[in-house]
Subunit: 306 residues, 2 copies
């Protein structure tokens, strides 16, 4: 029975399921979660497909990290606190080494972000990793895409463009110096879901989204949902050392504005409100539609899944 | 933008997201769900992979039904009431006809089982359909696999073996008469999650599971979790007309005991408790381990995903 679905799940994933909101974890027909009085549940699902979202030969430990960070970033973008997650894992074959490495990565990231693994499904097929995260939100509060007001400041956390730069590096279109190569590798495979920031913005931000498809594309969702335009000043975009040192700053600007995979928070604050630590004002909300950055960039120019 | 992920999701799936527990549906970074005071959340995820769980050329409308029914069956097996679901859909290409038919099936099954579609992810890759269901359970109650007592009756709802018979029919190993062929087709692609039965068993059954991997294999999980053995009398197995009319009753018995995909509830009731309508006593809980049926069947002989 070494290759049996149940044995696999039990062996590799059953120890990651404990958490304060978890009444029943992996091992029955459903998991059972409890919310505290005054809490609602926020939930989101993200799928990574081999060959589409990551190279076929990516390290399984890195894939586990990336899959969970990407999904957790949606909790951050709502201001929700992580409570639990499930994993739908499709594998071409039973590879004990792959599973051991993947589960090691999963255990690390589960623990770091307090996302116990409470359930899942393991099936045979082309490698696909689907993570559903569940978080808690105080009743009546949430960071939505709608809500920005004309005159609001537009901000972004961390640095942008690193995801696209990493992909250019992986695709041999650019060779960064070694220490920056390592930095970009980590940024791509272990992006930081801005959970603390998201939670702290619940009473402050008027709108928020995470930068998964590209800054312009994602800001475009805030603009559309809020019924206004967002003006971005490209000279204000926060860049990592890796990108600031790149010889072609036009390429860097393109990465920062349209590259996806940064998993930073893009949000609006009322005029005059102080910037949270680690965040940068990059523009403002104005009357109109779409996202304007003074460059010839399609406002839907972010990463498309088709 | 006709082939853009967002457009796809909005066009095909955005109208299915309303429900009493749904505070925020498709269209933001997360969906938001509310539970009533005294409720907990039960959740489960099930993945169907083309070529593994269904033929590549299966009708998309049927796939939507089957994916949701299979996932909802896990709510039934816990006694939970459906509240919402998410869909992680991986598609090899944008096929508007496929999506239109799939979403039509999804809309039908969502509506029937009160499972509004509150979120999802659409990605490019080999056809994979992952449904996560979320349901509500009264605090402190749930149908678990553990809890059966020696002397309990073992029951199953509906009829068993139809899923395996349907697969034999699809694989041209058997040609049922036309009206039974239609019945088996429907049983396979539109199995009935026993939601009302599950809920009604919350105060009655000592243990429960749904029959997805085969009666003997699934009863084996109850036996293992409850620390006892289950004795099944094969002559008591409830069979559909399609199976009762089959010329080889030995084959039928094999289907009924080890075939999966029936999505009936298998459960234990205290001795002397009346059988719920549509359910059949098929055996009892005894001292020991495993599942015994007087035939040479491996107790892990159900469907294996690897």
């Amino acid at each position: 029975m070494a290759d049996d679905e149940f044995t696999l799940i039990y062996r590799y994933f059953s120890s990651m399921g404990r958490g304060e909101a978890v009444d029943l974890s992996v091992g029955d027909d459903c998991a059972i979660l409890s919310l505290q009085p005054g809490e609602r549940m926020a939930t989101s699902v993200d799928t990574l497909v081999a060959g589409t979202h990551f190279p076929i030969d990516a390290f399984p430990e890195d894939l586990a990290w990336r899959a969970v960070c990407v999904a957790a970033s949606d909790l951050a973008a709502m201001g929700a606190e992580p409570r639990a997650m499930t994993l739908a894992l499709t594998l071409p074959e039973v590879d004990e080494y792959w599973l051991a490495a993947f589960s090691q990565g999963l255990a690390g990231v589960c623990h770091l972000y307090q996302l116990p693994l409470v359930g899942g499904d393991t099936t045979r097929g082309p490698l696909t990793i689907s993570i559903q995260v569940m978080g808690a939100l105080p009743t009546g509060k949430a960071l939505l895409r709608a809500g920005a007001k004309v005159g609001d400041q537009l901000l972004v956390s961390g640095t942008v463009g690193d995801g696209a730069a990493a992909l250019a590096f992986f695709g041999n279109q650019w060779q960064p110096p070694p220490e920056q190569a390592e930095y970009l590798y980590q940024r791509f495979y272990r992006p930081t879901p801005r959970l603390d920031l998201g939670k702290s913005l619940l009473d402050k931000a008027t709108a928020a989204i995470d930068v998964s498809d590209g800054l312009v594309a994602d800001a475009g969702h805030i603009a559309a949902a809020s019924g206004l335009a967002l003006q971005i000043d490209p000279s204000l975009l926060p860049l990592s050392q890796a990108l600031a040192a790149h010889p072609d700053q036009q390429v860097v600007r393109q990465w920062a504005l349209t590259g996806g995979d940064d998993y930073e928070l893009c949000f609006t604050l009322p005029a005059g409100a102080p910037s949270p630590k680690g965040c940068t004002v990059i523009g403002e909300a104005i009357v109109g539609m779409g996202v304007h950055c003074g460059l010839d960039i399609d406002s839907a120019g972010g990463y498309r899944h088709f």
